[in-house]
Symmetry: D5
């Protein structure tokens, strides 16, 4: 089941650079784990913004919340998930 | 170059059913032509809404406008395009 | 899988009364069919507004869209579906 | 008398983990007390967000405010209550 | 139980003057009936706008919806009801 | 001259309890002084929110600003005043 | 008593030119009558928009509504009035 | 004096194609006249939208309004003008 | 050239009273200097809000920015400037 | 490929003046480097606001993000990029 997920990131500008770097490294590792597992299909940055959009394919809304709320940066994130359905124009 | 494109559709509720069916058929044919050509990567319905989200991969902003403004339903559409960039978590 | 669904209704004020009555009767019959089937759990009016909120329990986002887009009043509706997940305070 | 209640939670990201855990435990205990008492009918998380939606059945607006303003996390909450009325499609 | 009710009115500008006058007369008669009955406590125009705010004192949300949805101008109204509770500063 | 006044309160969640209690006591005393004087007609809490709505009857806009800007909590308040006029449905 | 009044104008684009011209002529005559009388102090167009802002000096909110609701274009106007008070920087 | 001008276009979808073509031709001719005259510096489409952004260099706000309100499509346009000032990073 | 300028003020509630008083005194002195010079025509408080509206008459957008960005409270202000043009109803 | 970029700046009002001056100097130097290189075509202040608008001409969305996210003030910026396309009225 597909969801479009927009994530806006609001780290405080005065967060120490090492803390930011550590958070980012853990964020990447965390997200890649679900990409490798086939549940996190796509992730793109929104050009110029502190935000990204992703497409996840999960078994349930509970699983969606479990993955997103486990993000290392979760306390600083504003997340909005939109349920996607099949479109008649899609080729597959 | 990738763009996230959200399209909201506002056909008048009293549009004759045949006209709607004709528009939809032409819309699907039009979109599939760019999917086959590799420029329209994804399209999903937003569940419950008269709207969809797509990801396009085009050579330029001018090409993006050319494709979107040529949609058979264009006069009834509200479109918003968001430029996407590569995210460090992406595996590819 | 649970969804909160808000539906705003915008019938034109000059729609003939019989047409409104017919639409409403078909809307009620349609919704009750899914209530009887266990997929449409709750529906309430928002007091004072031309709107209602529902809770649906469906197998997938595609099923959610199928049910909602089949509503007899669909052309006049503005629908927003929010995915719900289990809350740790819930007793069941 | 039914109300749909949306609660957005804004704990500061740097709140100590024990304080968060203590607040959450007290929040769950507080909410379950009204669930057991039949006034707090439903609570769901909004998938991916720091927010939840509930349905309460209370004797009055004053009682609604009394319950909500007593939430242990109340100083960090943004709450919006919507009065619900019976819908003609409801089976009961 | 008190509610603050804001009503925005959107009669089409080309509605014939007699129809407007008739609607207004029926609206006033309808509202005054509930004022006389003690359920519609206050009504004021918002200066300069096609809108008004009222305070109603009703036995339930269902009663609130019943009164408001019966307004002769209801098809042209946008209504928002806000539940009010007792404030500690109030003298009574 | 009547005004509808909505006041949203944003005390910092970590303000010491005594300071909050002191502010609240002074706020109540301040507001009751104008209620006794006939300029502050009504005050209600918005159920579930950190907000209230009032109706004031003042001699001028300057007087309205004088009363509202003198509120002990004024630095933490977001206030919006709407000018009210007589409605033809009102009985008095 | 001063009010800032923003007026947005939404004449239908297909209104016959003579009707527009007639409405405009009556609007100007109507407004000038209150300018000559000292109640309508200023009026300016918002550059590029179908909108204007005015400053009125009236004896009461009821008078404000009386003047604004009498505008010949009133059925096509969206009006918002903001109460103004004396500022300590003002020289007079 | 520079202004950023965003223009959103809302031609009715059922406007006859010849009328649209005629309006567009006149719009282009009108805009080019001020481009040739040095007052309309830039115009770009917003990719995917029925909207454009321009930069004008005019002698006054009155001149800005004169140019914009003379656009052949003006009755169907929603225009917002933002005053621009010199930025210290600019090279010229 | 006229501009309507709305200024919202967001001094931190815990700013020491002397600092607020000093800022206000400098703000008044600064604004009166341009009022005396004929560039700052009007200033009014918005009743009940921490905000004011002004009308300035300046030679250019650059001059407008120079005056506004020099306000002693500028770091705490949110400012929006709207270009005004002559209205055909104006008497002068 | 052209983009309209709006940047809102939110430096904390209590940031030490030297730090602000240093950031500004680095910001100007950074932006001028891309102006000299032909990728940053225009930059203007929005009169009265802590914001600016720019037009960039870049080879890709990735390049756009690279330039914008490298701004020395980036942690304090809110950026929105809009893809621009050729307009038929443009002379070049």
């Amino acid at each position: 089941m597909l969801f479009l997920v927009r994530i806006d990131i609001a780290l405080p500008p005065d967060m120490p650079a090492e803390e930011v770097a550590d958070l980012r490294a853990r964020e990447i590792a965390y997200e890649r784990q679900f990409m490798a597992g086939g549940e996190w299909l796509h992730i793109w940055r929104i050009a110029g913004e502190k935000a990204n959009v992703s497409v996840l394919d999960v078994a349930s809304n509970d699983r969606l919340h479990e993955i997103l709320s486990g993000l290392p940066m979760f306390p600083w994130l504003d997340i909005q998930a939109t349920p996607l359905a099949k479109h008649p124009s899609a080729l597959d």
